[in-house]
C-alpha cells in the first residue's frame, strides 16, 4: 500500500481459525518494520479471542519498508505475513514545459521539470489535441496519440506522422502516481513554430579580390554557407560570430537574411590583417509575419581562417 510520507498507517494480522495447531504452540504476535521490532504498545490483541493483532504506526518515515507480522515460537519470531509499505508525495505540476520540433528526427520533443521527488513510481504523459487556430486552442478537435515518458527521463517525443505541422495543437504534460496527479500549463502552438533547425554548414570561399588588384582585400574573409539538408525549404535568418583563437568573447555579426536560397556567400570585412579567426554561424526560421518562428539552431562547427 502507498501512503503520504509521514502519515500514520494501520495493519491487522489474523490467524485463521483453521490454523488451530498454530495457536496451540504460539500465542504471542509481534510486529517488525524491516528488521526493527515495533513497540508493543502500538499493537493490541483481539478482544474476540481469535489470535490476531491490529497495529498503528504513528508516522511512516520510510519511503519503502516491509511490515512483518510474526508469531513468537520458542523465542524466535516466525514471520507469517508481510505487507510492502511505500510512502511518498503526490506529483507537483511539471514546470518549464517546452517543445522543440526536430525536422531531422521528424519528431516533436517536449521536456519539463518534474518538481520535488515523489519517491514513488510516477508516470508523465504528454497529451495533445489538434485544435483550431482561431480561439487559442479553446476548442479541441481530435486527440493526438499521447506519449508516456520513461520514469525519470522528463522528456517525450511524438513522431511527425501523428502531428499536423502547420495546425495549432493544444499540448501539455500530466504527472500521475498512486497519490495523485498534476498537469503542466498548456501550450497552444504550431509545431513548425517551435522548430529547431540543424546548424548551417560554413565553409571558406575563394578570397575576395581587392577592387583594383589581383590580391584579396586585406582584412576580409569570404565565407560560403549552406542550409542544413533537412531545412532547405525553410526561410531563415542567420547570425555569424567570430573570435580570435584563445580569446573568450565572440563578436556577433548582425542578421543576414537567407531568404529562400539554399546557400550563399558572405564577405566579412573590418578584420585585422594576417590574423587567424574562428567563425561559427547559426540560423532560426525567419519572421513569417514579423515574429521569429522557432528556436535558434546550435552554432555550426567552427571554421578557422586567416586573413591575408
Amino acid at each position: 500500500s502507498v501512503i503520504h510520507l509521514g502519515a500514520p498507517i494501520s495493519a491487522s494480522c489474523t490467524i485463521n481459525t483453521n490454523c488451530s495447531s498454530l495457536t496451540a504452540i504460539a500465542t504471542k504476535i509481534v510486529w517488525k518494520l524491516d528488521w526493527e521490532k515495533l513497540p508493543e504498545h502500538w499493537q493490541h490483541q483481539r478482544e474476540d479471542g481469535t489470535l490476531g493483532s491490529n497495529i498503528t504506526l504513528p508516522h511512516l518515515n520510510h519511503t519503502h519498508a516491509m511490515l512483518s507480522c510474526c508469531l513468537l515460537l520458542a523465542g524466535t519470531p516466525q514471520i507469517i505475513g508481510q505487507a510492502e509499505l511505500q510512502a511518498g508525495y503526490p506529483p507537483q505540476s511539471p514546470s518549464n514545459f517546452s517543445c522543440i520540433m526536430n525536422l531531422t528526427a521528424q519528431e516533436l520533443t517536449c521536456q519539463w521539470k518534474p518538481g520535488r521527488s515523489t519517491y514513488l513510481p510516477t508516470k508523465f504523459i504528454l497529451k495533445s489535441y489538434n485544435s483550431t487556430s482561431k480561439d487559442n486552442c479553446q476548442s479541441r478537435k481530435k486527440p493526438i496519440q499521447h506519449c508516456v515518458s520513461e520514469d525519470g527521463k522528463n522528456q517525450c517525443s511524438i513522431p511527425r506522422s501523428q502531428l499536423p505541422l502547420y495546425q495549432k495543437i493544444d499540448i501539455w504534460v500530466k504527472a500521475e502516481n498512486m497519490l495523485g496527479e498534476a498537469e503542466s500549463p498548456h501550450l497552444c502552438i504550431y509545431p513548425m513554430d517551435v522548430v529547431k533547425l540543424e546548424p548551417p554548414i560554413l565553409q571558406a570561399a575563394e578570397a575576395r579580390l581587392g577592387p583594383d588588384s589581383s590580391f584579396p582585400q586585406p582584412g576580409c574573409l569570404k565565407l560560403k554557407w549552406e542550409k542544413a539538408k533537412s531545412s532547405k525549404h525553410v526561410e531563415q535568418m542567420c547570425e555569424l560570430q567570430y573570435q580570435h583563437p584563445g580569446e573568450l568573447s565572440w563578436v556577433l555579426v548582425p542578421f543576414l537574411n537567407s531568404g529562400p536560397q539554399h546557400a550563399g556567400e558572405y564577405d566579412l570585412c573590418g578584420l585585422l590583417f594576417a590574423t587567424r579567426y574562428v567563425l561559427q554561424m547559426r540560423c532560426v526560421r525567419s519572421s513569417l509575419g514579423g515574429q521569429l518562428g522557432g528556436h535558434w539552431s546550435d552554432w555550426s562547427s567552427s571554421l578557422e581562417l586567416t586573413t591575408r
Binding site: C19, L22, A26, K32, D34, W35, M66, S68, C70, L71, L73, T76, P77, Q78, I79, I80, G81, Q82, E84
Partner: protein, 173 residues
C-alpha cells in the same frame, strides 16, 4: 566399493565444480536481494510458513551409503536438479529486480541437470525416458512466493553441497 565402470571420469569433476560454484553464486545473490529488499533473511524465521507451504526436499540418500550405486545416485541427482529447476520456475514473478538472476539460475540448474543426464547417457546408464517432476507447491501471495524462495534457496545450497561431495566421491580418484 565401486567397480571401475561405476566411476565418473576424472575430467568431469572440474566442470561440475565450476557449475556448482556458479549456481551457488546465483543463489547467494538472490538471498542477499530477498534480505535487502524484503527483510527476509533467515530461513529459521519461516519454519511455520514452510510447513504451511509444504515444500519438499529432494534427498540424495543413495550417494553416500553402504549400498552405493552410481546409477541410483546419478538418477537421484538428476531428479533433484530437475525438481529444483521446476521449483525455481514456480518462483517466477517474484519481483522485477530478482527476475534476471532467477532466470539465469534456472538456466544454470538446467545446464547442470543436462550435464548429469549426458554423463548417464555416455555411461549408458540413462533410463529410457526422463523421469517426470513431482508436484510443485503453489504460492497464493507475493509474501508466500518470497518466503518460499528463501526456503527453496536454503534447501538448494545444502543439496548442492551434498551433490558436489558425492560426485567428488564418485569420480575416480
Amino acid at each position: 566399493p565401486l567397480s571401475s565402470s561405476n566411476y565418473l571420469p576424472q575430467s568431469f569433476l572440474p566442470q561440475i565444480q565450476e557449475q556448482v560454484r556458479k549456481i551457488q553464486n546465483d543463489i547467494e545473490e538472490l538471498q542477499q536481494r530477498l534480505c535487502a529488499d524484503y527483510s527476509l533473511c533467515h530461513p529459521e524465521e519461516l519454519i511455520l510458513v514452510g510447513q504451511y507451504l509444504g515444500i519438499p526436499k529432494p534427498l540424495l540418500k543413495n550417494c553416500y551409503s553402504q549400498d552405493l550405486s552410481l546409477v541410483a545416485c546419478l538418477n537421484q541427482l538428476h531428479y533433484g536438479l530437475q525438481f529444483y529447476q521446476g521449483l525455481v520456475k514456480a518462483l517466477e514473478g517474484i519481483s522485477p529486480e530478482l527476475a534476471p538472476t532467477l532466470n539465469i539460475l534456472q538456466l544454470d540448474v538446467g545446464d547442470f541437470a543436462a550435464n548429469i543426464w549426458q554423463q548417464m547417457e555416455d555411461l549408458q546408464v540413462a533410463p529410457e525416458i526422463m523421469p517426470t517432476q513431482g508436484t510443485l507447491p503453489t504460492f497464493s501471495s507475493s509474501f508466500q512466493r518470497r518466503a518460499g524462495a528463501v526456503l527453496i534457496f536454503d534447501y538448494m545450497q545444502g543439496f548442492l553441497d551434498m551433490a558436489y561431495r558425492d560426485l567428488r566421491h564418485l569420480s575416480q580418484s
